[in-house]
């Protein structure tokens, strides 16, 4: 079986897929990739199922060498990437020849980048999924020296590029009222919509903190609400009044008041926002939210139409030559 050796690895790289559905009643949140859209994008680039496991890289990647020719795709937060020293485009698919050194550095945005391999990462299934759920001690962060088995890859397409996938510029984030929204006074909700926020760099898979330009937000009942179910995208107000947006590995229930819930389709834009860009929140009604989800699902199903062959410009010639010298053969199906 083909495998990918991890020569060195960033501090928070995990194997992820769509997570585990059906265990909320037992206290286990779904988990899975923090940026679920990236799973669909990598799958579209490689022409394979979005259920296959990938590497999620929080802020920094690592150095990888495969023991056979493989295909990869790079999605999510844009990171510095190179293959034997030649730069690689992000939001694109690439051929990685046996023995070549794939180096993925830092994300300028501090967000989550994803490394997809053709055939997926064939980590063991635990309760129906391959993803690490760090908070529940399922799986763990990858360490230097790990060797990752890779599934069989029937696909051949590489050097494809996905347009319109960069989502680090912030902007308007839509949310809906939720069952605790009325714990916040109307004035406070209005101020919430008028306030500019920045993403705090200190996020993790449980949630991301937002820094308000101005005072924090408080519920009228204070902090004494009955512990109740948590939905991914809930925005809870902790003691200091800074919003904390709950992500895939959040606890299943919580006692902090929640002001609303971010639309699933707007979560990728929020978690991948650069820390220096402005985020604003807008409440929309539930019918508009469902319509937005419907449109987003259609867009995900049509990702293939956003993919086109990468055309190399003359400046890339040295890159091209070095690639051929190392690999010894051109695959022939590449659009050069």
């Amino acid at each position: 079986m083909t495998s990918l050796a991890v020569h060195s690895i960033g501090p928070s790289v995990t194997i992820q897929d769509r997570g585990r559905v059906g265990f909320v009643a037992s206290g286990l949140s779904q988990g899975g990739a923090v940026d679920m859209r990236a799973l669909a994008e990598g799958a579209a680039l490689l022409g394979q199922s979005a259920d296959l496991a990938v590497l999620e890289m929080a802020g920094f990647g690592g150095t990888f060498v495969a023991d056979d020719d493989i295909r990869i795709a790079l999605t999510g937060a844009v990171m510095q990437a190179s293959l034997d020293g030649a730069p690689l485009h992000w939001n694109a698919s690439h051929a990685v020849p046996r023995g070549a050194e794939l180096r993925i550095g830092s994300a300028a945005s501090g967000g989550y980048g994803y490394l997809h391999v053709g055939g997926g990462i064939d980590a063991p299934l635990v309760m129906g999924a391959r993803s690490a759920h760090l908070n529940s001690q399922i799986g763990a962060r990858l360490l230097d020296g790990a060797v990752l088995p890779i599934g069989a890859d029937p696909g051949t397409a590489v050097n494809q590029r996905l347009e319109g996938a960069v989502r680090d510029v912030g902007g308007a984030i839509r949310l809906v009222r939720s069952f605790q929204t009325n714990l916040f006074a109307p004035d406070e909700l209005h101020r919430f919509e008028q306030t500019v926020f920045h993403r705090d760099m200190r996020g993790n898979r449980m949630g991301v903190r937002l820094i308000p330009d101005g005072a924090g937000f408080q519920a009228e009942g204070g902090l004494t609400v009955l512990s109740e179910v948590i939905m991914t995208g809930d925005i809870q107000m902790t003691g200091d009044g800074a919003p904390f947006v709950l992500l895939s590995e959040a606890q299943t229930t919580g006692g902090y008041p929640r002001i609303g819930t971010v639309l699933p389709c707007d979560l990728p834009k929020l978690i991948q926002a650069r820390p220096d860009v402005a985020l604003r929140f807008t409440f929309i009604d539930i019918d508009a939210a469902v319509a937005a989800e419907r449109a987003d699902r259609a867009a995900m199903a049509a990702l293939g139409t956003q993919i086109s062959p990468m055309l190399r410009d003359p400046g890339d010639v040295s890159d091209l030559l070095s690639y051929q010298l190392i690999s010894g053969v051109a695959r022939g199906d590449e659009e050069l």
Binding site: G22, M127, E228, Q251, L263
Partner: protein
């Protein structure tokens, strides 16, 4: 009970919550358990999963398959069918008897908790081990049960300072409830007994030992008996015995 309850509210775009109270009580938790079991039996298309919390039943669904309006109408219909506060508990529940060492080095806050409850250590052990408690809900960590309700004497506030860490299997008490820790974690509740019971077993065919609605009693054992159980048990049951509740 006012006419305000039960109440149906949305949870984000893909969830609905049927709440029977805004505080934990025996009838509201029973209603939540029974109503959730009923929704499960309905097997509606578009429902992704359900759960019950302290006083609510939760439905996660795909609104592109099952609309908010249709789901709300169906839930209202079920609510009207019976008095859920009086509903029979769901079927398939189990009664667990779990060996526990009360007090000593393994559970250093028994004396303190007994004092706060206004009883001697001996009486505290008798009270806590004599209580047959129900799994109210699972949460905070995977598989971790909240168990209640304990007698009124155990309506203890949380400690102001956190205990930096209690081990997996720790039995802690506050606000007329136990939590049986599924992982090593800090807590504001008092550590009164220690078990060898593992609530979350990710590599097992049955990863979650307990279900909401199960009943549990903690049987006092000596430190020696406990160590013997811990030495020979590899199942995670920690010497627990379980039987079906008829």
């Amino acid at each position: 009970m006012t006419s305000f309850w039960p109440q149906i509210r949305t949870v984000g775009v893909t969830g609905m919550l049927v709440s029977f109270a805004d505080a934990l009580s025996e009838p509201s938790n029973r209603a939540a358990l029974a109503f959730r079991a009923r929704i499960e039996r309905e097997s509606w298309d578009g429902v992704i999963e359900t759960s019950s919390t302290l006083a609510s039943a939760f439905i996660r669904f795909d609104p592109l398959v099952l609309s908010h309006a249709v789901l709300r109408t169906r839930l209202e219909g079920l609510l009207a069918q019976e008095d859920w506060f009086q509903a029979a508990p769901p079927e398939g529940r189990r009664f667990w008897r779990i060996p526990a060492v009360f007090g000593g080095d393994l559970a250093p806050q028994l004396n303190e908790a007994a004092q706060a409850a206004g009883m001697s250590a001996q009486d505290a052990i008798a009270s806590l081990s004599g209580a047959r408690v129900r799994v109210i809900t699972l949460g905070f960590a995977a598989g971790q049960p909240y168990l209640g309700e304990l007698p009124e004497a155990w309506n203890l506030p949380r400690q102001t300072a956190l205990t930096s860490q209690v081990p997996e299997g720790a039995l802690v008490v506050a606000i007329r409830q136990f939590v049986l820790f599924a992982t090593t974690a800090p807590t504001g509740w008092r550590h009164v007994a220690q078990t060898a019971f593992r609530s979350f077993r990710p590599d097992d065919a049955e990863p979650f030992a307990l279900r909401a609605g199960d009943e549990v009693q903690f049987e006092p054992v000596t430190r020696e008996a406990f160590e013997a159980i811990r030495a020979r048990d590899s199942s995670g049951n920690g010497g627990a015995v379980r039987e079906r509740i008829a």
